[in-house]
Amino acid sequence: MSASTDFDVVDHLIGLRPSDRISAIRDNRPEAREHLQGSFRAFFEPRDDSQFTLRERFAVAAFVACLHGVDAATRFYTDRLLDSGEGSTSLLNVVLAESRRSATEGPYGQFRLEPAGESTTGSEYVIDSIGSVDVLGERLVAALEHTHLLVFHPRDASRTRLQALLDAGWSTAGIVSLSQLVAFLTFQIRVVQGLQALSASRKGDLS
């Protein structure tokens, strides 16, 4: 497995240096900083990737970053996907094309029972291009479709959606890791964007 990442990924994605004010503010929650980085390592430097391969992880991560429209994160994860071995360029091209085709706005989806009147509908993402299916393969087709649901309309989740992953060859442990990785990235990207806004806000220097 690849060597461990020796820089703080969130600081890197925000563009912070250790001497920056926001980096010092982050140090007020040292365990959160350490274990946010630890989570990154658990997902992208796994001890065992037999249920969810490293290449699949970077393909999903590049898709999530691109769906959020965050350039620094998209670059970061696409670079790692490109380093994932033979055929990675065509895989990356498909992931980027699929994310451009399916990016929308969330959260939408159905509320159940009394709040049902608040339900909003949005797109139901299906990968049906023969070219994409051919490059992605059955497992990644199912994974990217599920990832789109988790990113944009997680309240539409159902047993049927998990059955689709099992049918595509995902194990229970693999589905847990896939769900964790996507959900983690929605957190990591929001920390990056939130702190970027705080960092860019000049009034902080005056208060």
Binding site: R21, I25, N28, R29, P30, E31, A32, E34, H35, G38, S39, A42, F43, P46, L67, H68, G69, V70, E105, G106, P107, G109, R112, L113, E114, P115, E118, L149, L150, V151, F152, P154, R155, A157, R159, R161, L162, L166, S171, A173, V176, S177, S179, Q180, L181, V182, A183, F184, T186, F187, R190, V191, Q193, G194, L195, A197, L198, S201, K203, S207
Partner: protein, 198 residues
């Protein structure tokens, strides 16, 4: 054989967002308590979590669960400087309400009520949604959390100004961001791996 869904059972869904204690039924098989190794137990951090099917399901990736749990605990329970617990729980509730996670909203709205003693306003957030009027400070925290929870993220200078005007300093704004952002992680797991029950 764990590579199947759990059997379908008759459950009673919560009819609305609530501060009551709810259950959660997994769609995938959690580990049995008898299967938990030293590493699984360590990943749960709190021994009592071995009773909980949600955490026993997440324990199928123990390295990820361990890091997630420790991140969670520092964001919500580290009270050195920063935002009061009530406000962190409010942000967790607002993200859960917008995403539609009835289970997460039940747990964290009850915490918000407990720490703030403002149960009625918390209930208004559950009943009316994220546009409910909760007073200036809470409105600012809810609005900022909503902007952060949307995809693509809408959180920017306007939200920072809003939080500053509500009296939050930079340590408190960090906590507001971390608490709201973290529930984007939590909601997606709770919503997609099982369902809430009364």
């Amino acid at each position: 054989m764990s590579e199947t869904l759990t059997p379908e059972v008759e459950i009673v869904e919560p009819p609305r967002f609530t501060q009551d204690v709810l259950g959660w039924h997994p769609w995938l098989h959690p580990l049995d308590e008898s299967e938990l190794t030293e590493e699984h137990l360590e990943s749960l951090v709190q021994a009592s979590r071995a009773k909980n099917p949600y955490f026993r399901l997440l324990a199928r990736d123990p390295a990820a669960l361990l890091e997630r749990t420790k991140t969670d605990f520092d964001i919500f329970y580290n009270t050195k400087a920063g935002l009061p617990r009530a406000d962190r729980e409010l942000a967790a509730t607002a993200a859960s309400r917008l995403n539609g996670c009835v289970y997460c909203a039940s747990v964290h709205s009850a915490f918000a009520s407990h720490h703030s003693k403002r149960r009625e306003e918390v209930q208004r957030l559950l009943d009316e949604g994220v546009d409910a009027d909760l007073g200036a400070r809470w409105n600012a925290i809810v609005r900022a959390t909503v902007a952060l929870t949307r995809t693509p993220v809408r959180f920017g200078e306007a939200e920072i100004v809003l939080l500053r005007e509500a009296g939050l300093d930079e340590f408190e704004i960090l906590d507001a961001i971390m608490s709201g952002a973290f529930f984007n992680w939590a909601n997606r797991l709770m919503l997609s791996l099982g369902e809430p029950t009364t």
